[in-house]
Amino acid sequence: MNKTEYLNRLSNELGHMPYGDVKDIIQSIEEHFDEGLGEGRSEEEIAESLGDPKELAMEFKDGVKFNQIMKKRKRLKDYTGPDGRGRIFVIVFNAFVGIELWLVLLAAIVAAFMFLAGDAGIIGVIVASMILGKITEFLVPFIFLVLTLICVAVFLVVLLFLGIKYYIKGLKSYIRWNKNVWNYGLGED
């Protein structure tokens, strides 16, 4: 394996690491190659002694994981008990903004449901009247009206589905965020 091949394989194996980190790592290994070449060693020889690029990449990734664990541990170690300001913030924020916001969104979802129910009701009435032969005039406009209402219903179903999905998702992360502020205070990364 020559230098280019080695560096390519290494950067491929590093995969999802942030670009800046990958660049930094590749740079240091490239420097290693250049130093070795300066001593008269061949690219293949240097690549061989560096070890399997896959394994090296894994060691780099382990280092990153290690750092994350250390950060978390440090945060827990530095934790001196509940932060009073964090709790006050959670209470005030929820009283004046948080709960209202979620209630308004919930009301919107309920309103959309009612709108959908009304829409379905009108469709039902018109279709039933048609079948029973109550509508003799303006048949074509009524058919168009029904088609339009069906389109509205489909649109509402999709909207509700997405709305409920993201409402639950958002609510979950909102609660998680509240818990974090409650326990650790503001200003955590």
Partner: protein
């Protein structure tokens, strides 16, 4: 030697190498690989980890031929870590050796 045991102690070895003076990656890789059976590449993830922990710092310095080299320097907190962990390791080695070496005769002595 078991790679897990080796991995844990290599950080300390790199710190010890830097105790003698600042050095750059290629040089450290060579020093480490000459003494311990590891690949030359092993030193780089360790240096990165140590740098992010703040026990080593880095700076660039011109080399006589070629581009500038990234030098590694043992910080005060690195020195502290090295001192305390070195003592711990030497003590631990002594204890382990005592168990391993007296494995056979120790049993007889109890009789």
């Amino acid at each position: 030697m078991n790679s897990q045991i080796k991995k844990g102690i290599l950080d300390l070895c790199v710190l010890a190498l830097l105790e003698k003076g600042d050095s750059y990656g290629y040089d450290l890789a060579g020093s480490l690989a000459r003494k311990v059976e590891v690949a030359d590449g092993t030193v780089y993830p360790i240096l990165r980890k140590l740098a992010s922990e703040g026990v080593v710092s880095t700076y660039l310095q011109e080399s006589q031929n070629g581009p500038p080299r990234k030098y590694y320097h043992l910080t005060d907190s690195g020195r502290k870590k090295l001192d305390s962990e070195r003592d711990e390791w030497i003590k631990f080695c002594g204890e382990v050796n005592a168990i391993l070496e007296r494995g056979e005769t120790g049993g007889k002595a109890d009789e």
